[in-house]
């Protein structure tokens, strides 16, 4: 799994040496899915987080409900790197199916905590191996079979707390947070953690270098997954209609939204919902409902993943051509087809940009952080209504389903709810009438009225077939060309209004790097590796939307070699940049990662260095 050639740590010290490694290591817990290790892992993550140490967690789970191997990696990084770390410093082996493999994956000089019954002692001599009868210890806490299975996970939390020096009060707090007002569960889990801890103190002698020590880098920070953040964004963005069809990894967007809305979007006066959430029969219907709702004036959205996007193709073209606002939150997973439903990817960029037959081009927003999920969800509705077009938010499984640290989200004072060019009855009385598809303002964006507007001139006829400025059916060649050109112009206007890219131009940089979405997190780290390991200075541009903002060109123009890093096979963003800037195309070099595992800094660094060395 790890493409790492070398390692920060092993470079510095030979295996075995136990000079302490503080707040800078990865833990990988290997368990069986459906065995309840999730809560144990979150508690572990939270405890470290509460000690002020930057952490990140990645859940590597199977497309299955129970019984298959699953891995959870926690990374503690004093420098605040939250991307996946290719190497495993500390392994926890609980799953018999994969125990030996799991033991082998630990980097030399690392450590392994293993369920005693797996008999992994002595499987390797270049790592510290700790054995513990996890389920026996759990059994002492509870004899109930089902419960014991669950609690066994809490045992390793206790042992790790002891071995790594995680403070018990933080663990207690984390458990309390994990089981909000479930007194009984809290007590039971706590008891188990303590049992684990005691076992460790009594029976284990620490021989590994890893330790957690209190820092102050997480004060006031929150932990949240991207899907929940998107849900919050939608709720504060004034979303009124939500339709969906369940699909991993997007389901939790609407599931979280359903809970938040029920809590915060009931009109206190009437006790009625200021929204409607509907589980559709499939994705065609989900987008159809969003389009009907957007047309009738709702701020409507749906959330889905690759297969859903494909099924939405025809309707997406209708929204584009009939100019109807719609927000589609795509949590990308590995395709094509069903692909790897529980693995991450950035593989829908190109096909979504040109989704549907005929000449179409869509607006795409690409969040990289949970904060951007919150922000872009709100901006998506504004952009959709301003441009009367479908707006696709391209999240991914890594961002959507994993937990991320973040500054608390800010109240959207700066994001007023913008309904775009909607003419009210009063406007119509003033104007006398309007032409639905007339480019009055020269920005390609026409005016619309909402069904139900009480004015005889309000009505117009919407269709996916050819029409003129007055929304009358037309097959006239010149009408069609005019319409097609205005639609293109509208997208030109969008360049200036979508979230601009974020550039970090380094003085006299040797190379430029372009990335987007979750690839961003590995880049922070990659750039430090390039600098520290080779003294290579790299400027960095993070793209946040399509069509490209003008600033993208400037960045490319100002660097001789630009590496475009993304998580798909076909270099999709690289392709779009090539199309947009043919004159600069030869400067662009793809760096591609597409095995379903979140990309890591080491992979990028090595790929870039390999190409730099080739001097290509």
């Amino acid at each position: 799994m790890s493409e790492a050639k070398t390692s920060e740590l092993s470079e510095k010290r030979p295996a075995g040496d136990i000079t302490r490694v503080i707040n800078d290591f990865s833990i990988q817990v290997a368990t069986v899915n459906g065995s309840g290790s999730q809560s144990a892992n979150s508690v572990l993550l939270r405890s470290i987080f509460q000690m002020g140490v930057p952490v990140s967690g990645k859940n590597l789970f199977p497309s299955n409900i129970a019984g298959l191997p699953t891995w959870f990696t926690i990374r503690a990084s004093r420098r605040g790197f939250v991307a996946r770390k290719a190497e495993i410093d500390f392994g926890v082996a609980v799953n018999a199916q994969t125990a030996r493999e799991d033991a082998m994956l630990v980097r030399s000089g690392g450590a392994l905590l293993a369920e005693a019954s797996l008999g992994l002692a002595g499987i390797r001599d270049d790592i510290s191996i700790y054995e513990a009868p996890l389920s026996d210890i759990a059994a002492e806490v509870s004899s109930e079979a089902r419960l014991r299975k669950l609690l066994a996970n809490m045992v390793y939390v206790g042992i790790l707390a002891e071995l790594l020096g995680i403070e018990m009060p933080e663990v207690e707090l984390a458990i309390a947070k994990q089981f909000p007002n479930k007194r009984k569960a809290i007590e039971l889990n706590l008891k188990t953690v303590r049992a684990g801890l005691e076992f460790a103190t009594k029976n284990l002698v620490k021989t590994d270098p890893f330790r957690v020590e209190r820092m102050d880098r997480t004060r006031d920070m929150i932990i949240i997954d991207g899907n929940s953040a998107a849900a919050l964004g939608a709720m504060f963005g004034g979303c009124t209609v939500v339709t969906w069809y369940p699909i991993t990894p997007s389901s939790s967007v609407v599931e979280a939204l359903t809970e938040y809305m029920a809590r915060y979007r009931i009109d206190p006066e009437t006790g009625r919902a200021t929204y409607a959430i509907v589980q559709a029969e499939d994705e065609l219907a989900a987008l159809g409902m969003v389009i009907g709702a957007g047309w009738a004036g709702a701020r409507a959205m749906t959330a889905t993943s690759g297969p859903g996007i494909s099924l939405m193709s025809e309707f997406a073209g209708l929204a584009y051509f009939a100019e109807i606002p719609a927000v589609i939150w795509d949590v990308q997973r590995v395709g094509p087809s069903t692909g790897l439903p529980t693995r991450t990817s950035q593989g829908d960029i190109l096909s979504t940009y040109v989704l549907s037959h005929g000449d179409t081009k869509n607006i795409l927003l690409i969040p990289a952080t949970v904060a951007e999920c919150f922000r872009f969800a709100q901006e998506a509705f504004n952009l959709a209504e301003r441009f009367q077009a479908p707006v696709f938010c391209m999240s991914d499984l890594d961002l959507g389903m994993n937990n991320w640290m973040s500054e608390p989200f800010e109240y959207p004072e700066d994001i007023p709810i913008d309904r775009g060019k909607v003419l009210t009855r009063e406007d119509l009385e003033r104007l006398g009438g309007f032409s639905r598809y007339l480019d009055k303002d020269g920005d390609g964006i026409p005016y619309r009225t909402l069904p139900g507007t009480a004015h005889s001139a309000a009505a117009y006829f919407t269709r996916g077939s050819g029409h003129n400025e007055h929304a009358h059916y037309s097959e006239r060649p010149e009408d069609f060309t005019a319409l097609a050109d205005r639609l293109a112009k509208k997208l030109e206007t969008a360049r200036g209004e979508v979230p601009p890219p974020i550039a970090d131009n380094v003085e006299g940089a040797d190379v430029g790097i372009i990335a987007y979405g979750t690839t961003h997190h590995a880049l922070e780290e990659c750039r430090e590796q390039l600098r520290s390991e080779r003294g290579l200075r790299a400027s960095y541009l993070r793209i946040r939307a399509l069509p490209f903002h003008r600033a993208v060109r400037d960045f490319i123009a100002s660097h001789r070699r630009i590496y475009v890093v993304e998580q798909n096979r076909d270099a999709q963003m690289h392709a779009l940049l090539t199309l947009e800037y043919p004159a600069l195309a030869t400067r662009l070099r793809p760096v591609l990662h597409y095995n379903g595992i979140p990309i890591d800094a080491r992979f990028i660094t090595d790929s870039i260095l390999r190409q730099e060395d080739k001097g290509v």
Binding site: A273, M289, W295, A296, G297, I417, L450, P451, F461, G464
Partner: protein
Amino acid sequence: MPTAADKPRPKPTNRAGLILQDYKGVDSTLCAGCGHDAITSQIIRAFFQYGVEPHRVVKLSGIGCSSKTPAYFLRSAHGFNAVHGRMPSVGTGAILANRHLIAIGVSGDGDTASIGIGQFVHLVRRNVPMIYIMENNGVYGLTKGQFSATADEGSKLKSGVLNDLPPIDCCILAIELGCGYVARSFAGDPKQLVALLEGALAHKGMAFLDVISPCVTFNNHEGSTKSYKHAKETEEPAHEVGFVPFFEQITVDYEEGETRVVEMHDGSRITLKKLDREYNPTVKAEALRAIRAANSGGELLTGLLYVDPSKPDFTELLGMHGRPLATLGTELVRPPRKALDEIMESLK
């Protein structure tokens, strides 16, 4: 009231103060004699008689000759000619956005029973408040006459091609799936159709009308079971349908057992005058038996086949706000700062 033949009689207005013309649309581009145009006329009449305010109406359709017709009525209502077979989802969305809208969907038998049967089933299941008219000619008119899924077994195309698959009876389907207003009619029976349309306007929830609407160009020949001739010959009204809108306070007393009166939730009444058969449209099982019997007997049973005015519609099930979601103000759709603070706290 002016009667003298010499001075021009003013056009009659309805309770909305509008005249029949106000309910028309652009000129039809369908073939002369197309059943769909006949239905359009009755829609215009029904909406006029019921006194609907056009701006409160949304007209929806899929793709097909039938789906073109929303352009031909209620010119002052918003219309949406969506994509083929997927109008139900678009209509559902529109109602979610604004529950005050009166939605009328016009579809064809291909648009509904072939490509659209999935969305149709789920629309019925949700009981989305909407009048759904299937203009049923047994063929795909707009693509030049291929059989649709409502074509009768044994029906022949001009070319002689025979349909050997059984038809989908969308009325039976709708009843089985719990639709509260299911009617079948015929483009050549304007009186019944208008009454059924007015009844549909008075119904709260989904109202489905399967209207036989001959395609004069591709399916009106000998051997077709969806021709004017065949429909006329085989039509068997289950009863004589009448409609008394809530705003007309006439009190009539009906002959015992001769006329069944259905009270609609807005106070309007549908009257079903007994003809030569007993027919009780309020009992599912009986209705279904009668329809099945008629089908196997080659009869075209028309009228209000099943009615249950009591079912809650989708907007009620969702506990939606009384005002249209589409126009709720920021204060209602964006929670206050303290809400966000509270949430942020819980995530720390």
